[in-house]
Every structure is written in C-alpha cells, then in structure tokens.
C-alpha cells in the first residue's frame, strides 16, 4: 500500500498528475470530435506547425499561448499560400509546410546559442510542471470545454450529415474552423507536460479507445476521459518506479490500452 501512496506525497508528482488529468479531460472530450471528424492527422499537423511559435515565445519571454496562437496563424497562411502555388496539391502543401515549420522550430530550439531547456517544448517536462503552469492549463481547459459545449449541437449535426447540416441551421465552415481552434488550444494545454511530439497521443488515443466501447456520444466522451485518467496514473507510476520519461510512459500506456481493447472487442 505504501508503494502505491508514496509517489503522491511528493509535490511534483501531484502537479504532474493534475496536469495530466486536465489534459485527459480535454483530450477525452475534444478527442471524440477529432476522431469522429477524422481529424487525427490534422491535429498532429496543427500541433507540430505551432512549434516554432512556441520556441520563439519561450526565447523572447512571451507567454506560450501567444506564441502558439501566432504559430497557428502563420501555419494556416503558409498552407494557404503553398496550396496556391501551381503544381502542388493540398495534401503535399500541408506536408511541406508542416515539416518546414517543425524543422525550423527544432533548429532554433536545439541551436547551441539557444538557452538550455527549450527541448522540453519538444519532449515535455511532466515532473517540472509548476503551479502557474497548472493555472494556465486549467484556464485553457475550461475555455476548451466551454467551447465544445457551446458548439455541441452544431458539431453533432455537421458530423452526422455535412450535406444537410446547413438546411438545419448549422454552419459547417464555422464548425470546422472552431474545432481546429479548439485543437490548437488543447495542444497548448498539453505541450508543457507531454511536449509537442506526444500531444497527439492524448488527444487521439483515449477517444479512439472510447469509440470502440461507447455507443452514445456522452458515454464515449466520459469513457475517453476515464481512459486518459487511468493511463495518466499508470504512466506516472511507471515513470516513478521504472525511471522512464513521464510523458512517454503515459503515451505508451495509452497505445497499449487501445491495442488491448481492440483485440478484446474483435
């Protein structure tokens, strides 16, 4: 019993767990829409594309949220411009822009002249989460959940039948753009703890697992949150006792759970 309780007597472990729970709640809820809208790859692209914005914000001492927001806008404009260049299809344009931006971010972050510590933006620093990180994450998580709640009816109608959604009074373009904005915000919540590389794991895997189990949307969302929370606790135990990287342990566990559920449900 002592071994189970011991990690949670430490402040950094408590903060890591709280951070992961916030990320898990957002991931479970928003992730359902990412999976239903088949936006998993877009979510990954979006997360990587705002990386240079994060790095620059960290370098110049701006809030990460601001850097991330500017990064997303820059990425969207670049994709739009690249798609207009002749001879490049949209898919290729996205791939080129995202890898260029991500590469640029990594280049700056790992440059010898850059102060040490920027690589945590890439891999996360779960055990280094501070109280103010948590406050920011909680604020953003609240905003994302409110956004999903307000959009809920439109998200449902557009995803169900995009063609007739307008006739029902929904606005598909508005819904799509709002969903991308919410994904960008969720990325910012998760980047501190999990890093830019692993963010997508928690935005997609819990919901993908829940989708195999849930029959109704609200159940699926709740299951997604439960899976994320359980894997967070499990991943932190693993990290604590096996000295593995925190974010990677959680992400790995999420994948293992997804695969197991898939096998069992077959």
């Amino acid at each position: 019993m002592h071994a189970l309780v011991h990690p949670w007597t430490l402040g950094f472990m408590q903060r890591a767990l709280l951070e992961l729970l916030l990320v898990g709640i957002v991931g479970g809820v928003l992730g359902c829409w990412i999976v239903l809208y088949e936006l998993s790859y877009s979510a990954e692209s979006l997360a990587h594309s705002l990386f240079p914005g994060l790095v620059l914000a960290a370098l110049l001492g701006f809030p990460l949220v601001l850097g991330g927001a500017l990064g997303v806008v820059a990425a969207a404009l670049s994709v739009a411009l690249a798609s207009r260049a002749s001879g490049i299809d949209r898919d290729t344009a996205v791939a080129i822009v995202i890898t260029s931006l991500f590469g640029l971010g990594v280049l700056i972050a790992l440059a010898p002249a850059s102060p040490p510590g920027l690589e945590t933006l890439l891999f996360g620093d779960l055990l280094g989460v501070t109280g103010s990180d948590l406050a920011t994450a909680a604020g953003l998580a609240g905003a994302v959940l409110l956004g999903v709640a307000l959009l809920y009816r439109q998200l449902l109608a557009v995803g169900f039948d995009r063609g007739s959604a307008r006739a029902l009074g929904a606005r598909p373009l508005f819904v799509d753009l709002s969903l991308l904005a919410l994904i960008a915000a969720a990325t910012l919540i998760a980047v501190r703890g999990l890093g830019n590389l692993l963010v997508v794991a928690v935005l997609v895997a819990p919901a993908a697992t829940a989708r195999l189990l849930g029959r109704r949307l609200l159940t699926t969302m709740a299951l997604g949150v439960a899976v994320a929370a359980a894997c967070s606790v499990g991943g932190l135990y693993l990290s604590y006792y096996a000295s593995t990287a925190g974010g990677a342990s959680v992400a790995g566990l999420l994948v293992v759970v997804y695969m197991s559920v898939r096998l069992v449900r077959r």
Partner: protein, 253 residues
C-alpha cells in the same frame, strides 16, 4: 388559399449549362406536390436552391422560406454514436439560439415527433442500427421538430419498407391537413397521382398542375426522355411508368 411559396422563372446550375431552368410554380398551404423527373433531372438542384445552398442564376423565390428538410437517408453516417432522439433533436438547431442547450421542452418536442412517425419505442435506439425505413422516419421526425411551414423531402420512399412507406404517407397527409406545404421528390408516379399537384422536371420544367390533368403520355415522355411504357389495363393518361431511370452526368438525382 394561402400561397406559402412562389417560384418564378427559376434557373440554376453548377457553372456549366443550367441544371434546371424555367421553373415556375406555387405551393399553397395544405398541398402535397410531387416533384417528378429522372435522376439528374434537377430535383435535388431545385431543393438546393430553395434551401439557399445554391444561388439561382435567374428567377425569384418568394414567400416563407423556412423549410423543414428530409435528405436522402443514405447520406447520414451510420457509424455515428447517436440515438434516434439525438437525431430528432438536431431539428432544434434553427429554432434555438446557438448558445442555448437543448432543454426539457426541446426533448419533449423531439419525442412527440418520434411518436408521430411511430418510433416512440425506439427513441433511444442507435440510429445506425435502425432499418432503412425507420431511419427515414427519424429524419422526418427531425424535420417536424424544425416546425417549418414548408417541408422538402428528397426521395423519402426510396429503399423504404412497406409499413414505413404507409406510415410516411399518412403523416404527410396529416401535415397537409394541418396547413403545411409539402414538396416530395419521388420516382413513384402512382403515389404522386394521389397528391394535389405534380411538378415534372427534366432539366427544365416540363409541366406543373393537378396530376390527373398533367400526367399525360406527352408530358411523361418529355419528363423521362421517351422511355415510358403503358401499364396493361390502364388508360392513356394515367398509369404510365418510366421504363428505367436515366443517368445523367452532373448530379446524383
């Protein structure tokens, strides 16, 4: 009689030659109008223009343009984790401000609409697990929740089992009785004969009027491109069915 909808000299298309032109008709309160024509004849295009999804290139639409819409059921996703009630509740989108959540009143309306189409017991069933006819009835319930004066139904009887079709027919008759205007795209001439008016479309409006006067052999030949056969034992004017549905290249019906 109150005119709910007046369409005058309407033409619309997708950039190339018009998909429909010269469409003029009036929809009165309490009328059921069958919209007839081959696949690609412009039935869906007409609906898209009425719904505001496609700008007309000529002509005008006036009257009350709040429509309840019943799309073809195969367009909805069957793997979607929603119940029949969830789908019916989508009909409240246009009635509630965007920031409002659906409450008890909306839920009651949706359940009433499902009861009306004979699905009270299946309100909590998963939409994707219902039969084709039941799914179509859910979409009709959703349009009822929209509570619009005019209902547009895009081939609601296609692929629908007999009990569902009969139930739909009686719901449509009831709605007309309550003063609703109903436009129904259909392939079934026999059904349209029982309605108040027919609108024959084959890229242009061929005819509009009462079915028993309008559905002559000449009109049907123009509508379906000459491929009509007389049913044995029937007269010249009625009982003529298209031999098959023609495929055109621009749109799917």
């Amino acid at each position: 009689m109150t005119v709910l909808l007046r369409v005058d000299g309407l033409a619309a298309g997708y950039g190339g030659p018009p998909a429909i032109e010269d469409v003029s008709f009036e929809l009165q309160a309490g009328e059921r109008v069958g919209v007839l024509g081959p696949n690609g004849g412009g039935k869906s295009t007409l609906f898209r223009v009425l719904l505001g999804e496609l700008e007309p290139s000529r002509g005008s639409i006036s009257g009350d343009t709040r429509f309840g819409f019943v799309p073809q059921t195969e367009r909805s996703r069957l793997d979607y984790p929603v119940s029949a009630l969830d789908v019916a509740l989508m009909g409240t989108l246009s009635r509630l401000p965007w920031w409002r959540f659906t409450g008890r009143a909306e839920r009651r309306r949706a359940r009433d609409a499902l009861r009306r189409v004979g699905l009270a017991d299946l309100a909590d069933a998963r939409f994707g697990e219902l039969s084709g006819g039941q799914r179509q009835r859910v979409l009709v319930a959703r349009a009822l929740v929209q509570d619009a004066p005019v209902l547009l139904l895009d081939e609601p009887f296609t692929g629908v089992d007999r009990p569902s079709a009969e139930l739909l027919e009686s719901v449509l008759a009831e709605l007309a009785g309550e003063g609703c205007g109903v436009l129904i795209a259909t392939h079934d001439l026999d059904q349209a004969l029982a309605w108040d008016e027919v609108l024959c479309l084959n890229r242009r409006m061929v005819a509009f009027g009462r079915p028993e006067e309008t559905l002559t052999r000449a009109v049907l030949e123009q509508t379906y491109g000459g491929a009509v056969v007389a049913l044995p034992g029937e007269g010249e004017a009625v009982g003529i069915l298209p031999a098959h549905h023609h495929q055109h290249d621009d749109e799917g019906g």
